[in-house]
């Protein structure tokens, strides 16, 4: 049984290698209850690989991943009821109507009141007008809201989000970010998100893990990182690190 003081996520000396590709190389970090942590890095930095290991979809080559006190992937079933996941790269069945998709997942997560919870989330996330439409017929923004509803069905203690606002227009992106902020305030949930959107990270994250080539090359709050790198915003810090031009890059691994 996890204690209140235990971290929600504890990653220790984690490696993942695919044949001769080192996707993740010796990263360690902790995420405390109620924190929002962002994994930031360019394409191929190892963000999605790290999230996959946190979800138990991928076995580490070396090191350990503990989520909600459960060792992943061996003890994943202890954690999976209390976490949820959203990614634009993973779909829901396209032929199923929105309410059917949500009903299936509501039963998988063992919801007490399936109809009530779906109605509540539909209202919150403004899905009501397209609940009866097939998921495959929806716009990108609508799909993102449905995926968000699916990821909130079980009111998770931990939400793992891989680029939650990718391919959304600024208005819908802002709407999703506002919703996540409210959800976190209301439930005290922990959020780990991978993103390329610096504005999103600056707005949501308490702590940022900057990744490059499978390593965490810097870590801190958005303001700490901006200050440390002598830049005006997180985007400039990101470019410095991604291009390897920062005096900080390559150092300060967490």
């Amino acid at each position: 049984m996890a204690l209140l003081s235990d971290p929600i996520i504890e990653v220790t000396d984690l490696y993942k290698t695919f044949d001769d590709v080192h996707a993740v190389e010796g990263i360690s970090f902790r995420v405390e209850p109620g924190q929002t942590v962002a994994l930031l890095g360019g394409n191929g930095a190892g963000k999605t690989t790290t999230i996959s290991m946190l979800l138990g979809l991928l076995s580490p080559t070396k090191g350990s991943v503990k989520v909600l006190g459960a060792l992943m992937p061996a003890e994943r079933h202890k954690a999976l009821t209390r976490l949820n996941f959203s990614s634009p790269y993973v779909d829901l069945p396209k032929r199923l109507r929105v309410w059917e998709n949500l009903t299936v997942y509501a039963h998988l997560y063992g919801l007490k009141d399936v109809k009530g919870r779906i109605a509540e989330l539909s209202e919150d996330l403004e899905l009501t007008s397209f609940l009866k439409r097939p998921f495959g017929d929806l716009s990108a923004g609508q799909k993102t809201r449905v995926a968000l509803a699916k990821s909130l069905l079980n009111a998770p203690d931990l939400m793992l989000m891989d680029e939650p606002t990718a391919s959304l227009d600024p208005d819908t992106g802002d709407w999703v970010r506002t919703y996540l902020e409210r959800y976190r305030e209301r439930t005290g949930a922990t959020i780990l998100l991978a993103s390329h959107n610096m504005g999103e990270v600056e707005r949501l994250a308490d702590n940022v893990l900057m990744m490059r080539e499978g390593k965490i090359v810097d870590e801190g709050s958005p303001s700490e990182l901006i200050q440390r790198h002598g830049r005006e915003n997180l985007e400039q810090v990101f470019l410095d690190i991604a291009r390897g031009t920062s005096v900080q890059s390559g150092g300060a691994a967490a």
Partner: protein, 278 residues
């Protein structure tokens, strides 16, 4: 560590949950319920097969003393072969459908257990098989005067053994597709047809070369079709063949499940669960 809303909205589930099994079935039933082309396709092939073999039976009735002895032998064989064939597809196609719809990762990060997924696929296979073969079984009577239900209780034994063996093949194919990707999806059809010649569907096992008879007798399907012929020709239910079919099914189902779980483990090592899709 947990938030109160989570505790308010969720009921703790056990290690093996029928509700989660029903959830996976519901996903496929929603698709079937609304898609008449899919329902039609399920029933279409067994009907065509039955009509074709019905005419073959009529022809052989006057030209073959073997068929004349038991008029329903070919039609019963074709219907039971469809049970085996549809049971195989009933497991492998819903699994492939999860891959086509890029839904596999969502399922595997939900509390669904591997054993629950396998159970749901086998139960879906039962549903799809019943939808497939029932119309053909009923139409055989008015069209050819063959009432397959005359086989009685043994029919249930044959049906169950073929359903389980078809599921065994389906689970094995699903494991291979998980490992090798959708490029291997044609295994759904190839695997079952590879076994057809040695399953003794339309002819007795002793019609095969001796070395192939050993292969045939290591399959539950050959024992089932031998048992079916004994009921039709001799009016005797063969406990010997039934026992072998059940025993082999238990061994093969355990082996196929272990194989699928191993493939899942490999998929976790190789990172295949996040990549699956069209």
């Amino acid at each position: 560590m947990s938030n109160q809303i989570h505790d308010d909205v969720c009921v703790p589930q056990g290690n093996f949950s029928f509700r989660r099994i029903l959830a996976v079935m519901l996903r496929h039933l929603y698709v079937l319920r609304r898609s008449w082309p899919r329902l039609l396709e399920l029933a279409y092939w067994p009907l065509i097969q039955m009509i074709l073999w019905g005419f073959v039976t009529k022809f052989f009735m006057g030209h073959s003393s073997w068929v004349a002895e038991a008029a329903g032998v070919l039609i019963s064989a074709v219907l039971l072969w469809d049970v085996l064939f549809r049971a195989n597809l009933g497991v492998s196609l819903p699994f492939i459908e999860e891959m086509w719809s890029r839904n596999l990762a969502q399922l595997f990060v939900s509390p669904l257990r591997d054993a629950e997924l396998i159970s749901a696929l086998i139960l879906m296979s039962l549903v799809r098989t019943l939808i497939s073969v029932t119309p053909a079984a009923f139409l055989a009577m008015p069209l050819y005067d063959v009432w397959v239900f005359e086989l009685g209780i043994p029919l249930l034994a044959f049906f169950t053994n073929l359903l389980v063996f078809g599921s065994v093949i389906g689970i094995t194919v699903a494991g291979l597709i998980l490992r090798f990707g959708l490029g291997a999806e044609s295994l759904c059809w190839l695997g079952i047809f590879l076994l057809a010649p040695v399953s003794a569907i339309y002819y007795p096992v002793d019609a095969l070369p001796v070395w192939l008879q050993w292969v045939a007798l290591s399959l539950p399907s050959a024992h089932t079709f031998e048992g079916m012929r004994m009921v039709l020709f001799d009016g005797v239910f063969s406990w010997h063949h039934f026992g072998w079919a059940v025993g082999l099914n238990v061994v093969l189902l355990s082996g196929a499940t272990a194989f699928f779980l191993h493939m899942m483990k490999m998929a976790r090592v190789k990172g295949l669960l996040m990549q699956q899709g069209e």
